[in-house]
Symmetry: C2
Subunit: 438 residues, 2 copies
Amino acid sequence: MARIVSVQATDVRFPTSLTQDGSDAMNKDGDYSAAYVVIRTDDPALSGYGFTFTIGRGNDVCVLAAEQRGLPLVGMSVEEVVADLGGVYRHLKSDSQLRWLGPEKGVEHLAMAAVMNAVWDLAARVAGKPLWRLLVDMTPEELVDVADLSYLSDVLTRDEAVALLAELAPTREARVAELAETGYPCYTTSAGWLGYSDDKLRRLCQEAVDAGYRHVKLKVGANLDDDIRRLRIAREVIGDDAQLMIDANQVWDVPQAIEWVGALAEFRPLWIEEPTSPDDVLGHAAVRRAVAPIGVATGEHGMNRVLFKQMFQAGAIDYCQLDAARLASVNEILAVYLMARKFGVPVCPHAGGVGLCELVQHLSIFDYVAVSGTLEDRVTEYVDHLHEHFVDPCVVENGAYTLPSRPGYSAEMRADSVAAHTYPTGAYWAGAAGSSGA
Amino acid sequence: MARIVSVQATDVRFPTSLTQDGSDAMNKDGDYSAAYVVIRTDDPALSGYGFTFTIGRGNDVCVLAAEQRGLPLVGMSVEEVVADLGGVYRHLKSDSQLRWLGPEKGVEHLAMAAVMNAVWDLAARVAGKPLWRLLVDMTPEELVDVADLSYLSDVLTRDEAVALLAELAPTREARVAELAETGYPCYTTSAGWLGYSDDKLRRLCQEAVDAGYRHVKLKVGANLDDDIRRLRIAREVIGDDAQLMIDANQVWDVPQAIEWVGALAEFRPLWIEEPTSPDDVLGHAAVRRAVAPIGVATGEHGMNRVLFKQMFQAGAIDYCQLDAARLASVNEILAVYLMARKFGVPVCPHAGGVGLCELVQHLSIFDYVAVSGTLEDRVTEYVDHLHEHFVDPCVVENGAYTLPSRPGYSAEMRADSVAAHTYPTGAYWAGAAGSSGA
């Protein structure tokens, strides 16, 4: 069996700030980037690919952290790794010196996500299955064994977790067959970036409706008059029956969030996303009580499972938007899905950025098939950017992610894309006057 | 006036893992380290010094992050910086690309602390005052202007903060005079590291009593029988009237914390420190309800002011142990002190590590003089390690920190210490078989 010979991380950046793709009230000039990890084995045909997502400066800090975090993998046999994906996770996580720098948050946690995403990609490739199928083929006990339930036993025990999964295990294949027909429903954020003109907003909303989307999301929070004007345009174009979501990207204090969202209530948003600090569990709970029936959504900056545990305990959110490259891979994400199921909160993963859509499609499919068993109130983010850089890009048809079929986690980037966009030495950055220079 | 010409960070590590100094149930082999920042100006006699504290591997990641974070300072005039310490803080914090990597937590926040600690050291040197005196000489309005109150307005408005400080302003100098006589009370953790033998524990407890300490802290959480034996020894030596504190360093889930602390109740600990994940506000609140009258203390891993806000709102802690190198310097620490005052929670800062004692003495003195006005239930940590590496080391006499008198934040390390312990090229690491290699 093959052995792991290296874990290498690369600083890949795309110059998205030039077009204001991705602009919002907090993040005005992001250069969408990936700390891109490749686990190489002594079998040239077998590697694992993963990444975490950043928006530019500091991507090099994540690269350094990811290479350090991945070092213990070097020399391990692939067989050993894929046979104990819970043990490998715990081993990488157990470095007490690195733990001090979080614990389990910030750069070190992003780096852990990048490395473990690559481990899961490797495991799916060894199994010859797309990641969602690898997970769907695991028993409830096997899934719970890889889930990180530490610090969670006050709300979810191992036995409860197994029981939740066992309930739906007999009917998994029926839901796989259903999704093979319909795909997993998604919504688009591509229309609503703050830096776009009214005309572009109107055109993109119309294109979203024409493409079959039933949900459209707009960025808000920089200027109330602008928000009212933009929401009016969007509501006109998408009609009364489609759903409109709004996203403030953490710009408000709690009282301000309540006031501002109140001023936008006439446009009947389904949810307000990131109304305040992502760390503020009690703040989200207060906003939720005040703005109902408008829902509260957050999670793309939800740092770890302990944060989500409290969001559920406090009744702070209506929608859980976990992030596949911020939580420490499937091991931690499984724990959040299990808690969400117990508390009855729908998970609508964050996506966009670089490659997040490629990852979350696997998670959402697995969720429906094995954890939640329902599509009610579920819709996964989709942003039509940067997919051309991936070897196995996600495919969205009629407002739904189609089922990935190639082995792996769809995380591998095209070699030519990586080479051109490696920062600062790749052809793009060496040639262009890039805006991302630190 | 001078101009800032460089912000340089150095990876300084001390081989503390060799002697098990600092060993606890979570952190078994730390090499106490500092990502050490020097802000140089074009005046060779004027520099600012600061750091964040880590326990070894990953210190280089903090160094890289600190150099990036400090770049906007280069070229600024020192006059401009010291005249607007709130503005400088907000300017460094406003980098939206770096914000994505937290926000305000983990490596990026540690780096922000290191840089801004050096800015505050520089400001105190320019004023020719020790940091505590620089703060004591600021008006309530000036203090609130530099405090980071963002995301806090649901519990503390600017006007409330000014009013809290104004109440004690007229009597500040009386308390300065009092502390000049008595010093600020501290307790020692030097006795209780987990890796020490029973004989060494007994001897160190006796030495603590002999040195005038009224509080002794022991590490717990690895083995219950060991904990019972060690607490019995400590209680025998220090007697019934002195205070015994215990510290689990986050090793327990919530139900386990409640059970374990219950089994140690006969030794009447004043507080249980870090019973579970430092992120778990609701978990700490549950532990606190269950183990009363034993108090709950946490904060050395308290990531930012939003976490502390919730700890106060939820009634989760009896003692707030903020960390001077994890929170983003005086700007953020001031906000936590103000909230603690409003909620009536005593602040007993975390110290030890490398240089934390040097920093927190300034904060505790300022707290008594200008914010809390009381010493009741207050005691600041002191660990007698590594002070020899500092130019202006703290001085503890009869269980109390004496008032620092030299200009600055006492953060400057000796040049020979930095040179010898720079990792991995300094004389110590190049010559020794260091244990900290990543």
